[in-house]
């Protein structure tokens, strides 16, 4: 089992002055909107329990108002929960005294904000060193660390500029550097990239992955954007109306959405970067011929029986050998070994290949492309039609 760094346990958060009343209604199964109408209490989080593992990028997704911001703010206790506990590294954040809490915030957990939130009266380096300064670090030392952090995000040359002299993307990188300067165990990022244009955004995502690869750090990342979540997330939590409805790897959620809400998230998602050849390889639709001592004639007969153009040849252990076609078989003498009739252009693809990288091979191939696993065993074939269909996958139709 992996090491847990953040544990959220039965957290409830109700905004308003009479949380008890709202909680009672909630337990009776009254909906969030109804509770708001009746008591004007808002359900922020409803009974959330999950764990975040050390070193993973944990993405929280959900529609606007589903409680994502509330959730991360509970993790560093910018918001007090109505009930429940949050543990950081084994310590109960929700039970700490103010001074313990400050210490944890200075040393263990930092946050990057959607609105950048840089101090307008401080230059870049002072902004980055802000957390260290609060911790009482000497100027030389904290400037050194701040410069280091600025270098990581590629803004060292702007150390003495003021935030209003930087572009949005640069400001966000300063925000990231400020969080990195403390060298926290956990980085909370509340829609940190939402305000950026697609190009800078992709750049920042890569930067984040690079930083993550260099230092093993836990990142809790809120995103609206599924492609971003898929790209960054080791695991994704999906929130709906204050409830965490599903947690899992992108793949798991994609393939087994628990309800229509989750499914609707994945509608129109570019599956080419998530699904692999193995997911859509089909064992039907083609004829598999086990190689035996018989020559091309036997193979030709089998194809005629199945009324197929192409045949996929495997050995007794189902190891893939090659593809033959009616034409290629006919071109050879009857007694020749079947090997001589293999169509050269058809190359097998590995089952772990993403659909996006498969398109060239499938387009060029005269027949369905054979898929093999690491050991070279045949696992199926992908036809042009099958690939196109899966790329245009409508997740709602799957039942």
């Amino acid at each position: 089992m992996r090491e847990v760094i953040i544990e959220v346990k039965n957290i409830y958060k109700i905004f308003g002055d009479a949380p008890k009343k709202a909680l009672a209604l909630l337990k009776k199964g009254v909906t969030k909107d109804e509770i708001f109408r009746r008591t004007s209490q808002t359900i922020g989080i409803y009974d959330a329990s999950f764990e975040i593992y050390k070193g993973e990028i944990f993405v929280i997704m959900g529609l606007s108002g589903s409680g994502k911001s509330t959730m991360v703010r509970l993790m560093n206790r910018l918001i007090e929960p109505t009930s429940g506990q949050v543990y950081l590294d084994g310590d109960e954040i929700t039970a700490m005294s103010q001074s313990e809490l400050r210490k944890s915030r200075r040393e263990k957990i930092s946050m990057v904000f959607q609105s950048f939130a840089l101090m307008p009266h401080m230059n870049v380096i002072d902004n980055v060193a802000f957390g260290l300064e609060l911790g009482g670090m000497k100027k030389n030392e904290r400037y050194e660390k701040a410069l280091n952090a600025l270098e990581q995000v590629g803004l060292k040359d702007y150390s003495f500029s003021y935030p209003d002299e930087l572009s949005g993307g640069m400001q966000q990188r300063v925000g990231l550097a400020r969080a990195l300067a403390n060298d926290p165990r956990v980085l909370l990022m509340d829609e940190a990239f939402s305000a950026l244009d697609p190009l800078i955004r992709a750049e920042m995502q890569d930067e984040l992955l690079k930083l993550q690869a260099e230092h093993e750090r836990t990142i809790v990342f809120i995103s609206h954007d599924l492609d971003e979540a898929m790209k960054l997330g080791d695991r994704i939590a999906i929130m709906q109306g204050g409830v965490v409805v599903q947690i899992g790897t992108p793949d798991e959620i994609l393939k087994n959405p628990v309800n229509d809400y989750v499914r609707s998230f994945f509608r129109g998602v570019n599956v080419g970067g998530i699904m692999t050849a193995r997911d859509i390889a089909s064992l039907q639709q083609v004829t598999i011929i086990q190689k035996d001592g018989n020559g091309t004639l036997a193979a030709l007969q089998t194809l005629h029986e199945h009324d197929r153009e192409f045949g996929y040849i495997v050995d007794k252990k189902r190891k893939y050998l090659g593809v033959v076609s009616v034409d290629s078989l006919k071109a050879k003498p009857k007694r020749d070994s079947i090997d001589l009739a293999f169509i050269k252009e058809v190359e097998p693809v590995l089952e772990t290949t993403y659909l996006n990288d498969l398109m060239g091979a499938v387009a060029k191939s005269p027949c369905a492309v054979p898929v093999v696993n690491e050991q070279g065993k045949y696992v199926g074939a992908i036809s042009k039609a099958a690939l196109l269909e899966s790329l245009d996958y409508n997740w709602e139709e799957e039942e």
Partner: protein, 343 residues
């Protein structure tokens, strides 16, 4: 005591001659013929008397307290006055012009120079110095009182709901109303003058300090919290610096209002430019009044521009990234010495 309690007794035949306000039989008389259609014929609640008694009582019992308040005010005032009176006018004008150059630029330096020279030429120099020391004393005390109060009501809604009506009262009550009580408590002279000025000039500083701090964007507060700022760090590293332009506007307002009180304050024997105006009006000597008036206006313009520049300075500095010691006359000095060192 008896006459003090009812100084207008002669012109009020409706009020009985009885001086004892607690067992005022006029009330019973009025009640006797109480007319429900005209219930407010007589004074049912003798608020005026209560105030008078409370004031007298305060004067008698708390004289010591008010005398104690006098001490720091008096000390600051005479220190400043001696200082200003001791500086030779030429030196003062040059220093002020250089200061204006430093914080705002050559244009204001020139304006300051001309204004001060004019004040000197029309013979209002020493009066201006008195006024200046008065105004500065008032601003200093306004800052000492106003900044902490402003910070306090920015952090506590309850404090805010208590203090704000008091500020409203301070701003709307005509100065004449509290002039007399202040004289009763402090006596006549410069100190009550400063006190009256403070009462009048304090509210905007408190309000703007409060406003500036409350207007600090929520996300900056959240950032500070998330990085583990203590309440003091939050105040001094984030809230006050971000609110500084607004607070400076408050100081500017306080300064201007203090200056606008000088004529009024001179009614209780406070000297300076205000006294000139007042005496001029009293003797129908329009020339004297105009001299005082012109002095006040010129002084106001100079002080206003200088404090405004102080509020803007930080922003300008940020954009140009020029350190204060590399600008203005000090910058000149700096470059000259640097060049010498290089040689």
């Amino acid at each position: 005591m008896a006459t003090a309690a009812n100084p207008w007794g002669t012109q009020a035949p409706a009020t009985p001659p009885n001086n004892d306000w607690l067992i005022n039989d006029s009330n019973s008389k009025v009640l006797h013929h109480f007319d429900w259609l005209n219930p407010f014929d007589g004074t049912l609640v003798p608020f005026d008397k209560w105030v008078e008694h409370a004031l007298n009582w305060t004067v008698e019992n708390f004289r010591g307290v008010f005398q104690a308040i006098r001490v720091p005010v008096d000390g600051t005032l005479s220190l400043l006055e001696n200082f200003f009176q001791a500086i030779p006018p030429t030196v003062f004008i040059v220093l002020m012009a250089l200061l204006a150059w430093q914080i705002a630029g050559k244009k204001l330096a020139f304006g300051t120079f001309v204004s001060l020279v004019i004040i000197g030429l029309i013979g209002a120099w020493s009066e201006m110095m008195v006024t200046l020391s008065l105004v500065f004393t008032s601003v200093i005390f306004c800052m000492i009182i106003g900044l902490p109060l402003g910070i306090w009501i920015a952090r506590s809604d309850r404090a805010s709901s208590i203090i704000r009506p008091i500020l409203d009262a301070m701003q709307t009550t005509p100065a004449f109303v509290y002039l007399v009580p202040v004289v009763m408590l402090f006596g006549i002279g410069n100190v009550p003058g400063v006190v009256v000025t403070i009462i009048f000039a304090l509210p905007p500083l408190i309000r703007l300090t409060n406003l500036g701090i409350r207007q600090v964007p929520e996300d900056l507060i959240e950032v500070s919290q998330s990085f583990g700022a203590s309440p003091w760090q939050m105040l001094f590293r984030v809230q006050l610096p971000v609110a500084m332009p607004t607070i400076m506007a408050g100081i500017n307002q306080t300064l201007m209002l203090s200056l606008s009180m000088v004529v009024f304050a001179s009614m209780i024997a406070v000297g300076g430019l205000g006294q000139m105006v007042l005496r001029g009006i009293g003797r129908l000597d329009m020339g004297l009044a105009a001299v005082g008036g012109l002095g006040i206006v010129l002084l106001a313009v100079v002080l206003d521009r200088m404090t405004q520049a102080l509020g803007l300075r930080e922003k300008v500095m940020h954009r140009q990234r020029i350190k204060w010691y590399k600008k203005g006359p000090i910058g000149l000095l700096y470059t000259i010495t640097c060049q010498k060192e290089k040689k």
